[in-house]
């Protein structure tokens, strides 16, 4: 039995691990070390309702402060862990203090990828990962201000939607030929591009960046397609997993801290959960993956808790994700692959439709826009590795419930 669990990184994964362990009757001591000033909070609203000023800060916290007191968690916030000594089972904190453990969970998440471009360090260039970042952005969100968003992934496009709603002049610069290229099919990319254009957003794909320069009180972004002037720049070009603690301690790292389907690293005393991990995934064509989602943080934490309680159960949940832009709720389940057959169900012009991805006839993923039945049933079909004929999937007269 584990008698003292130390968790490094106070985010989505950490809060779920604590909740699941205490619910299952874990009696050991729990200590949580977090670099940020806050108890664990949700990040999804940071680029959505919280950025838009529609959600008070207190509503971001996943559990209230009392939860940690009640769960007898010793909190060390504003504290960075700097090293792990696996032989002595000790973690060193910034300042030199040490904390011992019998089990350690690394839930260090990820950080933004920095844009390697001359001028990207200038004042007026922002990134978005934490509450502190949003607080810097919020007073820039004024009607008439010009924002250049670098990167047309989810975060960039969600910010574009919020900024367009606040009547800013929005330009999105993307190096690839289409928006959301990493996670969505071409049909979906085309749909979202059009929605943003209709909202007045200037989307420029295939755009190479040359430099950002100061231009009076504004910034000038030099691109292959000319100069874009902006009052501020938001950079959203992806994340980097926080693996340094693990790799310095000799744990295996390969695009994330390598774990098994119980969130265990190769050191039996060390678990790792969430954005920072590279995990086995039977839904991925490569067999392993690094996921950046609330679902993964939560489900992996639940399985780590089961393992810590001596009731291990292999993690094999279908990955899922959502994104809110304008009045469009995108829900994605499963993982896409470039070779997939795409089957559309519903008409994009109705603003409610879904793209299914078939792999060898098996439903491998669904990307649903304002289409909950397609998404929810899609999740079940993916989990069941169900084969569904493309003509049936595309036929709106057959209800999703009858697809199984």
């Amino acid at each position: 039995m584990t008698d003292s669990l130390l968790i490094v990184g106070a985010g989505q994964a950490a809060s779920q691990l604590i909740a699941s362990l205490r619910q299952d009757g874990f009696a050991g001591a729990i200590t949580l070390v977090g670099e940020e000033a806050y108890i664990p909070y949700q990040r999804p609203p940071l680029s959505k309702a919280f950025l838009a000023g529609e959600l008070a800060r207190e509503r971001l916290f996943i559990k209230p402060e009392e939860f940690y007191a009640e769960a007898k968690v010793t909190l060390h916030l504003n504290t960075r862990a700097t090293a792990i000594d696996r032989a002595r089972k000790v973690v060193t904190l910034e300042g030199g203090n040490e904390l011992g453990y019998t089990a350690l969970a690394l839930t260090t998440g990820s950080r933004v990828r920095k844009l390697p471009l001359p001028g990207a360090e200038l004042p007026g260039c922002y990134y978005l990962r934490g509450i502190a970042d949003v607080e810097l952005l919020q007073d820039k969100l004024k009607a008439g201000n010009r924002v250049a968003i670098i990167g047309a992934g989810y975060i960039g496009l969600e910010v574009a939607a919020v900024a367009a709603k606040h009547k800013l002049k929005v330009t999105v610069l993307e190096a690839l030929p289409r928006v959301m290229a990493r996670a969505a099919c071409t049909e979906l990319s085309a749909f979202y591009e059009e929605q943003h254009r209709k909202a007045g957003v200037d989307i420029r794909c295939n755009t190479k960046l040359e430099a950002i320069e100061k231009h009076g009180s504004a910034l000038a972004i030099k691109t292959s397609g000319g100069i874009v002037e902006a009052d501020f720049v938001l950079i959203g070009i992806g994340i980097v997993p926080n693996v340094e603690l693990a790799s310095a301690a000799g744990l295996k790292v390969d695009n994330g801290i390598v774990v098994d389907d119980h969130a265990r690293t190769q050191d039996p005393a060390i678990y790792s959960i969430g954005d920072c991990t590279n995990l086995p995934c039977t839904y991925s064509t490569t067999g392993r993956i690094r996921l950046e989602s609330v679902q993964n943080a939560i489900d992996q934490a639940k399985h780590a808790a089961l393992s810590l309680m001596g009731k291990p159960k292999a993690y094999n949940e279908v990955p899922w994700f959502w994104s809110d832009q304008y009045d469009l709720k995108l829900q994605i389940a499963g993982l896409g692959d470039p070779g997939d057959q795409i089957v559309l169900r519903g008409d994009p012009t109705s603003r409610s439709f879904a793209a299914f991805r078939l792999r060898g006839g098996v439903v491998a993923a669904v990307e649903a826009v304002n289409a909950a039945p397609e998404y929810m049933m899609g999740r079940r079909l993916i989990a069941a590795r169900a084969k569904v004929a493309p003509e049936r999937l595309a036929d709106k007269t057959i209800p999703m419930k009858d697809m199984a």
């Binding site: 999804p44 959502w322 909950a372």
Partner: protein
Amino acid sequence: MAKIKYIEHNGKEHVVDVKPGMSVMEGAVKNLIPGIDADCGGACACATCHVYVGQEWLSKIEPMQEMEKTMLDFAEGVEGNSRLSCQIKVTDALDGLTVKMPKSQH
């Protein structure tokens, strides 16, 4: 403030004050009441905040939007009085509301 009674699946009752503007889901989470998972944090994307609403309250709470209705359709153990608690906004008019939690959210 609205008083809301949450009844766990095992019958255990919790009566708490919830601030208007918060959701019924948040009222449970902030007060450490078990039985609501709320994986997506209220984005109407996960259907793990399912509750049964006291019959007499059905007409007093805001009706369901399409997204909630269709998400619920695929949850476990759905009844005529099922709702997703993250989509019920607390108002003074909901003072006295009773909700019951299902056996499981998954």
